[in-house]
């Protein structure tokens, strides 16, 4: 499970480079969002996600001779770009699902919304500026 977490964080930091700067609390918040999303969905989805993370971890052995977590940022980006553009639709959809979960985890946190300057509120036009 710890290995899965390391792969997930490496993937997440490639999808959202700012995630690399998260502290422990930031990662805990992100992972809490992800766990909450997965809990609300069929258990099979979490299994598919773990499988896809393993694919990402070991696929680079063929090209780089090293697993994903040992690659630099440029090589990680290259690996994920290949998955995103893969000619097999199921691979593309798998990556899209993983990407969606990462983006939910990162941008679903109030801290991320504040960091990008998003400040919608129920008060709308009456919000003090």
């Amino acid at each position: 499970m710890r290995t899965d977490a390391a792969i997930f964080r490496a993937v997440a930091s490639t999808i959202v480079p700012e995630a690399a700067a998260l502290d422990d609390q930031g990662w805990r918040d992100l992972e809490l969002v992800v766990e909450g999303l997965l809990r609300a969905r069929p258990a099979s989805l979490a299994g598919q996600l773990r499988l896809f993370l393993q694919l990402i971890q070991w696929l680079p052995l063929l090209r780089y001779g090293r697993p994903f977590t040992s690659l630099d940022q440029a090589a990680r980006t290259s690996v994920l770009t290949h998955l995103q553009n893969d000619r097999i639709q199921k691979i593309r959809v798998g990556f899209w699902g993983l990407r969606t979960i990462v983006l939910a985890g990162y941008y679903g946190r109030p801290a991320a919304a504040r960091a990008i300057g998003y400040a919608a509120s129920p008060q709308g036009c009456e919000t003090p500026t």
Binding site: A40, Q84, Q89, G97, L103, I116, A119, P122, Q123
Partner: protein, 504 residues
């Protein structure tokens, strides 16, 4: 084994959105004559203070599958409400009359545009649909109008059904100010005052001969909303009349798992949804985007010639991030520019296709089989290029184009857009596509070989069973559908009232 609880009604309405809420209101006068009417809604009913506008929390509460309902191949997200008020609780309130050219093209025997138009106007008034006052039009919308004007396009203002809008921009997360006049605010409360029972957290599992099997869920720990008025458990309901208003995914699925597919070969067929993606542009300076009504203008002059419609929009951080194609630094750069972002929603005018239909899996759950036809892809591509032109005409410095090879297009390349368009490609599973205008599956028509119901929603060969939601549409409407759904539901309710002695 526990015996199911038994209940008996004269009329049961399944679903509480634009269709169900309308039917409930229009039949509620019958309660005074002693008739028992119930609305069964799968989702919860929230208290006003529970509409917080917080993105994941509200999406998880208000939408089917938390907003993550995917088509069978996973290439498109379908967004539809699962709450008291259905999708009318989560739309932006854009209120459009049924277009004459579409209703004529539907060519449903017995369905005249004039009749539908008359009913639609009644609901426009009832829901307070009007052009929004100038003070609530933000720069995200004004820039759209300005870009269109410079290009000679005819941007139009949406009538919206709000009362006391404060411009929170949070419509799609349920209005936190109760300004939007959906069925949750207008028709359902009126129906309840007249004596209609609304039973939330109640999913209908199947339908038999004037019976329904339903299951009431307990309120989840820590979840929002009131508990169901009924105890959790299984229920067997008797009803003399059943009206299905569960939407274009769940109504066909319910009929299919009730074993009606053989008798109704067109059941589930004809699903359309206006597949859409978001175009985003960055301006030099901050603009008002997450303050003000998010969807005030549209451009439909290319609906026929280009098969696309453009609408202004403004989404929340996660949905925006999900809707931008790609990842890494180019993606993050747009997200960091959030206060400077302008957004346009590109909707394709898709048409009925033999492959695109609702089926069920082994557990009876709905499965939406959808492939992007060449026509729909063409509409999305042309819409993307037109949006990019509008953005640059409005002064954007760069545009995110999800179908371009390099998704970020700088202003210096604005003159090369047609050349860029020639190299664009639409790759399902790579381009983020979603849809919220789900239609078809129980189309109106003349008989069971070409349709599921007649022009007043009665299921062929089943006098006591009616459909009154967007699944009735025989093809896509090419505009925002809720007012047309209400007009059709009004026809269904009238038919039921007129035939009541025979039905009971």
């Amino acid at each position: 084994m526990n015996q199911p609880n038994k209940r008996s009604y004269d009329i049961v309405i399944v679903g509480s959105g634009a269709g169900g809420g309308t039917v409930a209101q229009e039949l509620s006068g019958l309660c005074r004559q002693g008739l028992r009417i119930a609305v069964l809604e799968k989702g919860p009913r929230l208290r006003d203070e529970e509409f917080t506008g917080r993105e994941l929390e509200m999406a998880g509460t208000l939408y089917e599958n938390g907003g993550g309902f995917l088509t069978a191949d996973g290439t498109m997200t379908l967004a539809f409400g699962c709450v008291y008020g259905g999708s009318t609780a989560v739309y932006t309130g854009t209120s459009m009359l049924p277009p004459e050219r579409i209703i004529r093209r539907w060519d449903v025997p017995g369905l005249a545009h004039a009749d539908l138009d008359c009913r639609a106007r009644k609901f426009m008034v009832e829901n307070h649909a009007h052009l929004l006052e100038d003070g609530l039009i933000n720069q995200n919308n004004r820039l759209f109008v300005e870009g269109c004007r410079k290009l000679g396009y005819d941007a139009r203002q949406f009538p919206v059904n709000v009362k006391g809008c404060r411009g929170s921009s949070l419509c799609n997360l349920g209005c936190p100010n109760q300004a939007k006049q959906g069925t949750d605010r207008v028709q359902l409360p009126r129906a309840e005052r007249n004596g209609v029972e609304v039973v939330t957290r109640c999913q209908v599992l199947s339908i038999g001969e004037r019976t329904l099997a339903a299951r009431v869920a307990a309120k989840p720990a820590g979840g929002k909303g009131d508990p169901s008025p009924w105890e959790p458990g299984d229920y067997q309901l008797e009803a003399k009349v059943v009206v299905l208003c569960a939407g274009a995914v769940n109504t066909p699925a319910l009929l299919l798992r009730s074993g009606m597919g053989k008798r109704l070969p067109r059941l589930g067929h004809g699903f359309t949804c206006h597949p859409a993606f978001i175009m985003v542009a960055e301006h030099r300076r901050p603009i008002t985007n997450f303050v003000g009504h998010p969807k005030s203008f549209y451009l439909d002059q290319f609906a026929e010639s280009g098969r696309f419609v453009l609408e202004t929009c403004m989404y929340f951080p996660f949905i925006t991030a999900k809707s931008l194609a790609g990842f890494g630094e180019p993606h993050s750069a747009f997200m960091r520019a959030f206060p400077r972002l302008q957004m346009i929603l590109v909707l394709a005018c898709d048409e009925v296709d033999a492959y695109n239909r609702v089926t069920i899996d082994g557990g009876g759950r709905p499965v939406v089989n959808y492939r992007f036809t060449a026509e729909a892809i063409g509409g999305l591509m042309r819409g993307a290029i037109t949006s990019a032109k509008i953005f640059f005409a409005a002064g954007a410095v760069r545009v995110h184009m999800p179908v371009a090879k390099t998704t970020t297009i700088e202003a210096r390349d604005a003159g090369r857009l047609d050349e860029i368009a020639a190299h664009c490609e639409f790759t399902p599973g790579k381009v983020p596509v979603s849809a919220a205008h789900l239609q078809g599956g129980c189309a109106m028509g003349s008989g069971s070989t070409d349709s599921v119901t007649d022009s007043e929603g009665r299921v062929h060969g089943t006098p006591w069973l009616f459909v009154a939601d967007a699944s009735l549409f025989p093809n896509s409407l090419e505009i925002n559908p809720y007012v047309t759904i209400m007009a059709l539901a009004d026809r269904v309710a009238q038919r039921i009232r007129e035939e009541l002695p025979a039905l009971l």
